[in-house]
């Protein structure tokens, strides 16, 4: 049985219809010694991908796929890396994207797939002016 109700699927499908560029979701999971949240994350991503054919899920092994792990600087699992047309958006999610995190994931997919960023022009200008590496970590909980 799916995690999303038929009604949720219909709503989400409509939101995702705005996507015009391919979105790849790289999911790093750890089979042995990892938590169950990797499997939950996989099921959530698969259900989202089933609603729009521009979205694909690529599963990576956190232990074995060292090249990609290094390339995307992944140091913990489960991790979701969001690519827009094979380009790294530098947006990451760590842990299963349930509850409020699910909304954040969908928003990130929409940004990657549409290129539309819903920010004030002034805020955008501040962000575009950043010239030093900036690592933002936001901690949240599903409820």
């Amino acid at each position: 049985m799916g995690l999303l109700s038929p009604q949720d699927e219909a709503t989400l499908r409509q939101h995702l219809s705005a996507i015009s560029k391919p979105v790849q979701l790289l999911l790093f999971t750890q089979t042995f010694g990892g938590s169950e949240s990797g499997q939950v994350a996989k099921q959530i991503l698969d259900e989202i991908a089933s609603l729009n054919d521009k979205i694909t899920v690529v599963e990576k092994n956190f232990v074995l796929d060292t090249e990609d792990k290094t390339k995307f600087k992944i140091d913990k699992a489960p991790a979701i890396v969001i690519l827009s047309n094979d380009v790294d958006t530098r947006m990451r999610m760590y842990g299963a994207p349930t509850g409020y995190e699910f909304v954040g994931l969908v928003e990130a997919i929409l940004v990657a797939g549409t290129g539309n960023i819903d920010l004030e022009p002034e805020t955008m200008a501040w962000i575009q002016a950043v010239t030093t590496p900036t690592h933002i970590q936001v901690f949240s909980t599903p409820t």
Binding site: G95, E101, P133, T134, H135
Partner: protein
């Protein structure tokens, strides 16, 4: 230049302890700036990018 991580706090307790996450959302920027709670868009970006209160 900017990398943004959303981290499920209860899944990564070691990190949550490291950054003293006692409430959510809590934002850490470059290991130095801490923002607790949600802020309006411009206030959040000002705080995260360490911009002055007036025009940047």
């Amino acid at each position: 230049m900017i990398t943004a991580d959303a981290i499920e706090a209860t899944e990564f307790m070691d990190l949550s302890r490291k950054y003293r996450v006692t409430g959510v959302p809590k934002t850490i920027v470059n290991e130095t700036i801490e923002i607790l709670g949600g802020l309006p868009e411009q206030d959040f970006v000002r705080a995260a990018l360490d911009l002055p209160e007036t025009n940047p």
